[in-house]
């Protein structure tokens, strides 16, 4: 059944927000703002930022450990994690990991923190309480997002550049296999009771469904343009996928893989979580610099559909532009390209 939603708030948080995590007891969200080098602390009741905590260079991902009250950010350009005390909102310490850490996940049962190190092609395993490094496991180029399947005693480390997933035994910390997925693999979620994992392939524009027993891709699901973020819903019946290329979130059925909804959010969405306390979706919009809070609604209170201006562009004259040249700083206008065929590639360096 199609879903309807409304945006509760879009909270300005900083430059290029990526990962986000929820602190249920304090009713907060934590957002890693990678270009601000800060952690934004959002009061979810007030829908407002209550603090910006300076962390290491280029924090990309964030997780929160409720037992210790610690917030961890993966500071990619610092090759380290910042450990922030949620009570005092100060940096307790920084822990060195591999080169360019970009993905974090917690295993609270085993009291471990997993970190994918993209340039190091490794996955670090830390003790969540002592912060000691327990292991550094070989993965593949672009190692980033990690998910844990406690049932099968597996960690899955997604490798963006290699377009693969490395399977790691969480008892021995040894790699035990791999599977190739689509190009630009960059986020992962596990549904242990189904024995399945879902991996978004940003460049291929697909979501791979992986059978964890056979360790094979059994289905390629369709989402929106340039899918980059993924979270499994609290009931494990849905997967939410952020589509960086078109500013939307695809809601995919875990059972049949169908897209049961597509939610319009801000520009360039990336990190996504569901607040288990109220079921609201929290989306970090890297382009807009906001944390968007979205709730599902029944009845007539949903947001009105937004006009798709982009689709209406085809067949029309390109609006004139006058923009500075990165190299010279001088103004360039569309008149310079008159009577030529060309491609405008809109990109962001994040």
């Amino acid at each position: 059944m199609p879903i309807t939603t409304r945006t509760v708030a879009a909270v300005p948080v900083g430059l290029d927000p990526e990962g986000t995590a929820v602190d249920i007891r304090r009713r907060r969200a934590y957002v890693a703002c990678s270009r601000s080098d800060t952690l934004a602390v959002v009061d979810l009741d007030a829908a407002a930022v209550v603090a910006h905590v300076a962390v290491g260079a280029e924090p990309i991902d964030v997780v929160f450990d409720e037992r210790t009250g610690r917030i961890f950010t993966a500071d990619a350009h610092a090759d380290a994690l910042s450990v922030v005390d949620a009570e005092t909102l100060t940096v307790e310490t920084q822990v060195s990991v591999g080169a360019y850490p970009s993905g974090l996940t917690l295993d609270t049962d085993e009291r471990r923190l997993y970190c994918g190190n993209s340039m190091g092609s490794t996955m670090s395993v830390l003790d969540l309480d002592t912060l000691e490094t327990l292991a550094v496991v070989d993965a593949e180029p672009g190692a980033g997002a990690v998910a844990v399947d406690s049932t099968r005693r597996l960690a899955l480390c997604v490798n963006f550049i290699a377009a693969s997933v490395t399977f790691i035994d969480i008892d021995t910390f040894e790699p035990t296999g791999r599977v190739e997925v689509g190009q630009g693999a960059c986020a992962v979620g596990v549904v242990p009771e189904r024995g399945e994992a879902f991996v978004v392939n940003s460049l291929a524009g697909t979501v791979a469904r992986i059978d964890l027993e056979s360790r094979t891709v059994v289905e390629e699901l369709t989402a929106g343009s340039a899918p980059v973020g993924l979270t499994v819903g609290p009931l494990h019946d849905r997967v939410y996928v952020t589509n960086r290329g078109d500013g939307t979130v695809s809601v995919l059925s875990v059972v049949d893989g169908s897209e049961c909804g597509r939610i319009i959010v801000g520009e360039g969405p990336g990190g996504v979580v569901v607040n288990p306390d109220d079921g609201r979706l929290l989306v970090a919009n890297a382009g807009s610099g906001t944390l968007e809070i979205v709730e599902e609604v029944q009845g007539g209170a949903a947001d009105a559909p937004t006009e798709d201006l982009l689709a209406g562009l085809v067949g029309r004259r390109l609006p004139a532009f006058a923009l500075p040249d990165h190299h010279t700083g001088g103004q360039r206008t569309s008149l310079e390209w008159a009577e030529r065929r060309y491609i405008l590639n809109f990109f962001a360096s994040w």
Binding site: L15, T248, L310, G315, R317, A338, R341, S349, W350
Partner: protein, 79 residues
């Protein structure tokens, strides 16, 4: 040509780092506020916009390479 969007007010060093990393030789323009992208209805990146010799938009989106190649073939075939 490339247009960098949503980089904030300190776009140039970030764009330069990106250009060097990927060895980009093409012209790069800066739409720091994203206003021009917004005028076109662009809500995400990457987004490609193909323009013909009359200045008319022939295709948009085209994230996957196969999609882009097919659209360029269509554009060049329409000379």
């Amino acid at each position: 040509m490339l247009i960098s969007v949503w980089e904030g007010s300190e776009a140039r060093p970030e764009v330069e780092r990106f250009r060097e990393m990927w060895g980009i030789g093409a012209t790069i323009l800066l739409d720091e506020s994203g206003d021009y992208a917004r005028e076109l209805g662009i809500r995400g990146v990457p987004t490609n916009v193909l323009v013909d010799a009359d200045g008319v938009v022939r295709d948009v989106g085209l994230v996957r390479l196969d999609e882009l190649h097919a659209a360029v073939d269509r554009l060049t075939a329409g000379r």
